[in-house]
Symmetry: C2
Subunit: 258 residues, 2 copies
Amino acid sequence: MENQELFVPSVHSSLEILEWLSKEEHKYSTLTDLSNNLHISKSTCLRILKTLTAKGYLSYNSDSKNYSLGFSLIPLGIRSQEINDRIGRAIAYLPQVAEDTGITAVLVKRIDHRLMYIGKQEPLQKIRLTVTVGETFPIHVGALGKCFLAYLDTATRAALLSEYTTNGTFPTYTDHSLTHLDQLLEQIDQIRREGVAQSNGEYNVGINAVACPIFDERKKIILVLGGFTLNPIQDTDKWEEMKKKMIRHAHKISELII
Amino acid sequence: MENQELFVPSVHSSLEILEWLSKEEHKYSTLTDLSNNLHISKSTCLRILKTLTAKGYLSYNSDSKNYSLGFSLIPLGIRSQEINDRIGRAIAYLPQVAEDTGITAVLVKRIDHRLMYIGKQEPLQKIRLTVTVGETFPIHVGALGKCFLAYLDTATRAALLSEYTTNGTFPTYTDHSLTHLDQLLEQIDQIRREGVAQSNGEYNVGINAVACPIFDERKKIILVLGGFTLNPIQDTDKWEEMKKKMIRHAHKISELII
């Protein structure tokens, strides 16, 4: 928070509660869970929970003593899509991407030094990859992170990367993670030349990703269109075809939102 | 609010700000607008606005000095649909209703003594009726209100109606509004027999509506499926066909969400 004076702790805590409950593994949490994990005193936490529940922003199950996200968030979310209509239009396009490519299509947006899934569409298959909308991940990982970084100006990119590097080295997530800043910068050049990023289990073992930038009217990157698949990256023809499709869809979305 | 002690004023104010900004006519509001209309002191209001903006729940336009709903609400809304999955599934069905009937399809849910639009789908026509998701209206008006009341138990219905009646008389909104409780109770009997409610400009001049109940697994009404049209109710054949379609769709939704 930039300015501590212009900051209401209880409002901030209520947002943290909503965000916590939006995570798959915490979608049903008790007062004690929330109070402990978010470091909010139990009495304050209870008062916030009651206030949010009274207006339908949370649901309370008196048998299990669990709180979960309430239905009042649904209309607010839909309205926010309508008002932020470029993002709403981009999200509404995702089913076309999933149908055309047969992979799970996502849109991510930057928040500070992380990227957040703001929309997703899974293909029509019985077993399919999924993500949780609202979840965030480090800005330097996988195809989506590399794609976002590739289209930032050099100073912003350097500042963001300094959050993650120690002596030019990244934390690793899998055996395939990029470990050195040099490696990343090299790939960034290639991504800018080709207009598409790819990754092969760099953040999650076995999951391959492809990502393309979406630009606003000033040609600045505002979103990344990504796709996740279990299909091996080695099957070059299919993979190259998918990259082409993703580039085409990202262009379409850029045009749609201008 | 049931218990003033269990209530955090700044959290409550922040929810009121989000709800205010979700209304079409207030979607861009200044600090002064918000502070005056919601009776929040300017300094508290500014601190709440800054807290909400810092986390992406509001956007601030420094040229116009306007606040509007931010994109962080989008993932929360989508997550709430997923977690409240019966409501999410009902909302996801609306495009089928709009396509099949050619009218604007809505879902409403009760909040206290009002009904809230929690989902909508407009038909594919150049000029079409719309509503704002998140808006509420009195529980006794039009086809949707009558439908909801019809399927409540008698005591709950009487308690809700007492909020609106003075000596058995309702406030009127148009020349076609129901004015007497007796009239309403008579219609309620008919609605229960036919399984569908209709109205003809009772709340908005010229707008006709049709509404059917959606039940949970205990056969309690939890949502109302409604449709709005400008087509005159007198065109009996078409109207009767539409009512049948709406009954069928409401049944489908009831089955889907159990």
